[in-house]
C-alpha cells in the first residue's frame, strides 16, 4: 500500500460526552481509507518538535478530501489536538495498517477510543452487520447517532447512567453468536481481554492500541506477541488480529 504524508487542515471540531469529533480537509483527495485503518497525526506545532512522535488514530469516516476522527483526550498529544482551532494544519501520514476483513456476517464491539473503526465498518458494509455494541464511560456523544445509518442494530452501553444507553459493560449481556457471525472488536485492553474469555477465539478479532514509533513498519517499536512465539508488528500486520493468533499471556504481562 502506498503511504503518503500530507497536510491536513482542521475544518471543524465538536464535543460530545468525553469525545471530540474532528473533521480535517486533506490536500490529497484520492485517498480511500478502509475500516480499521489508521493515520499518524502530528500533535504539535510544526517547528516545535515536542511532543515529537505522531499519534495513531483510527479513521471514523472519510469522504473525498475529508477525514473524520473521534478523539478521546488522554495525555499531552491528544489534549493539544482537541484544543486546536479550525484552520490549524498538521502533518498526516496514511493510510496505515490492514483494513478489517469483510465477512458475510459480523458482530461489532467498540469501547473507549475504539468506537471510530466500528462505526466506519458499519457505514461501509452495513449489510454484513448483524449487531453492534458500543461501550462508553459517561454520556453518548450527541453527534454519534447522526453518524450511524438509521435503523442500524446498535446498542449503547454506559458504565454510568446515560440517556439512551443500557447501564453496564458491553460484556454484561451475552453476545449473539448464531449464524457463524465473526466478531470484530476495538477498545481498551480490559475490554479486549474480557471478550477473549467469552468468545470462541477463531471467530474473535481484536484491534490493539499499541504505542507506536512510526506507524508504518520502519522502527520495529510496536509489537503484538504471536501465539507460539515471536511477534507481529502491530502497525503493519495489524492492528487487528484473530484472537487465536495472539499470545494473550505475554500481551498482558509485558504492558507497563
Amino acid at each position: 500500500m502506498r503511504l503518503q504524508q500530507v497536510r491536513a487542515r482542521l475544518l471543524h471540531r465538536e464535543e460530545g460526552g468525553r469525545y471530540v469529533h474532528l473533521v480535517f480537509a486533506m490536500e490529497e483527495a484520492s485517498w480511500r481509507i478502509l475500516p480499521g485503518q489508521f493515520v499518524q497525526l502530528q500533535v504539535r506545532d510544526a517547528e516545535q518538535y515536542d511532543p515529537f512522535l505522531d499519534r495513531p488514530f483510527s479513521v471514523f469516516w472519510t469522504e473525498p478530501g475529508r477525514l473524520g476522527l473521534l478523539v478521546l483526550p488522554r495525555g499531552r498529544g491528544t489534549r493539544w489536538l482537541v484544543s486546536r482551532d479550525p484552520g490549524t494544519e498538521v502533518s498526516l501520514i496514511g493510510p496505515l495498517g490492514q483494513p478489517w476483513p469483510r465477512f458475510p456476517r459480523v458482530g461489532l464491539v467498540g469501547g473507549g477510543s475504539g468506537i471510530a473503526p466500528v462505526v466506519h465498518y458499519l457505514r461501509t458494509y452495513p449489510d454484513t452487520v448483524a449487531w453492534v455494541r458500543l461501550g462508553f464511560r459517561g454520556d453518548i456523544p450527541a453527534f454519534l447517532p447522526k453518524r450511524i445509518p438509521a435503523s442500524s442494530p446498535v446498542e449503547f452501553w454506559s458504565e454510568t447512567d446515560a440517556p439512551g444507553a443500557r447501564r453496564g459493560r458491553v460484556t454484561d449481556a451475552p453476545l449473539p453468536l448464531d449464524d457463524g457471525v465473526q466478531i470484530l472488536a476495538c477498545g481498551p485492553p480490559g475490554m479486549l481481554t474480557a471478550l477473549k474469555e467469552i468468545l470462541p477465539s477463531t471467530r474473535y478479532y481484536a484491534s490493539f492500541e499499541e504505542v507506536m514509533g512510526c506507524g508504518f513498519g520502519i522502527c520495529m517499536g510496536c509489537l503484538t506477541p504471536r501465539a507460539g512465539g515471536g511477534h507481529f508488528r502491530t502497525c503493519r500486520e495489524g492492528p487487528l488480529f484473530r484472537a487465536d493468533q495472539v499470545d494473550w499471556t505475554r500481551l498482558t504481562q509485558d504492558v507497563r
Partner: protein, 315 residues
C-alpha cells in the same frame, strides 16, 4: 552559476549526495519503495544485522521523551543471510545504494560477519559496524574499550575489503579517542554517533517506561550534543566523518556538513516526516548558490573553530 555538485566522497565511496538514512530508522530499506523515491538518497543504511535472526526486547520498546524518544528495540532483525537474499535484491533492482549495518555480540561474531559479507560479495557500498548499541548486553562495551575497539577494527579489516565505517557511541569515553582507535585499526570512516543511553520513569505508576528500563535517546533533543562531537572528531582524525543525531530540518542537517561531516544520516525524524530527506535534497542547490558554494564538498568543513577566523562567519 551552474547547478551545484551535490556529490560527496567517503574514502573510495562516492555518493551522489550526502543524505543517508540511519540504521534502524528506515526498516530494512524496502518497506517504503512504493511510497518515496528512495533511490534518490545518497544511500540507505540497513537495520542492524546479526549473524542469526534476533527477536529483540519485549515491549514497550519505545517511549517518548522531551523533543525525542527512547528506544530499546534490542536489535530485532532477520539476520544477515536472509537480508542478503530477500531484501538486498529488491533494493538493488530499484537502484538503491546500500550500506550494511552489522553488529556482533563478541569479537568472533563480528569477524564471522565480515567473513560472510566477504564471501557473498554483495552489491553494497560499505559495512557500517555498530560498536555502540545501548540495547543489547555488552553492546556499548566495544565502543568504550579503546584497545578492544582498535583490535576489532583491525580484525575486520583483515577479513574484508569492503570499506569499514565504524559507528561510535557518544557515551562514556571521549569520542575523539574512540575515533582515533578506529582510525588506527584501519577504519575508512567513522559514524558519529549512536544514541545516548537514557531512561524514563512513569512517576504515577512508579515504573520505567521501557520494559528493559534503559534505552537510547534520539531525536532533536540530541542534536547539539552530537554536533559538538562531530566537530571535535573531524578535528581529531584524518578519515571522513559521517554525522548522525537529531536531524529534524534543513538547518540541522547542513550544520553537520558545515563543521566537517562528509555525509549525514537522518534517523528518528523519518518516523514523523518521511519526506524530510527529499525536501532537504531539493533545497540544497539553492542554499549552496545563495552562500556562494559550487559544491557540497566545498561547503563541508567551512565552519571550524580550528580554522583561521576569516573563514568563520562575521558576527
Amino acid at each position: 552559476m551552474n547547478t551545484p555538485d551535490l556529490s560527496t566522497t567517503i574514502g573510495q565511496v562516492t555518493l551522489p549526495n550526502p543524505l543517508l538514512t540511519a540504521s534502524g530508522t528506515f526498516g530494512y530499506g524496502h518497506e517504503l519503495l512504493e511510497s518515496f523515491p528512495v533511490q534518490r538518497l545518497g544511500a540507505v543504511v540497513s537495520k542492524g544485522l546479526t549473524l542469526r535472526p534476533r527477536e529483540g526486547n519485549p515491549r514497550p520498546r519505545i517511549a517518548e521523551t522531551r523533543c525525542g524518544l527512547l528506544n530499546s528495540i534490542g536489535l530485532e532483525n532477520m539476520g544477515l543471510e536472509a537480508y542478503l537474499h530477500r531484501v538486498l535484491p529488491l533494493l538493488r533492482e530499484r537502484g538503491v545504494r546500500v550500506v550494511l549495518n552489522v553488529e556482533g555480540r563478541s569479537e568472533e561474531e563480528f569477524y564471522a560477519l565480515a567473513e560472510k559479507v566477504e564471501a557473498h560479495q554483495p552489491e553494497i557500498l560499505a559495512l557500517e559496524v555498530n560498536v555502540s548499541c545501548p540495547n543489547v548486553e555488552g553492546g556499548l562495551w566495544f565502543g568504550q574499550d579503546l584497545g578492544l575497539l582498535e583490535r576489532l577494527v583491525r580484525g575486520m579489516r583483515a577479513r574484508t575489503r569492503f570499506p569499514l565505517w565504524i559507528k561510535l557511541t557518544p557515551s562514556g569515553v571521549d569520542v575523539r579517542e574512540e575515533a582515533r582507535a578506529a582510525e588506527q585499526g584501519g577504519a575508512d570512516a567513522v559514524v558519529v554517533a549512536n544514541t545516548y543511553p537514557g531512561m524514563a520513569v512513569d512517576v504515577a505508576r512508579r515504573r520505567f517506561l521501557l520494559h528493559r528500563g534503559m534505552g537510547g535517546v534520539s531525536g532533536p533533543a540530541i542534536h547539539p550534543l552530537t554536533l559538538y562531537w562531530v566537530h571535535e572528531v573531524v578535528g581529531a582524525v584524518g578519515i571522513p566523518v559521517i554525522a548522525v543525531g537529531g536531524i529534524h530540518d534543513f538547518d540541522s542537517a547542513v550544520a553537520y556538513l558545515l563543521v566537517g561531516a562528509r555525509a549525514v544520516q537522518i534517523g528518528s525524524a523519518l518516523f514523523v516526516d518521511p519526506e524530510l530527506p527529499y525536501r532537504i535534497l531539493a533545497r540544497l542547490p539553492d542554499y549552496l548558490r545563495d552562500q556562494g558554494f559550487s559544491s557540497v564538498s566545498s561547503l563541508i568543513g567551512s565552519l571550524r573553530l580550528d580554522r583561521p577566523a576569516t573563514q568563520r562567519p562575521q558576527t
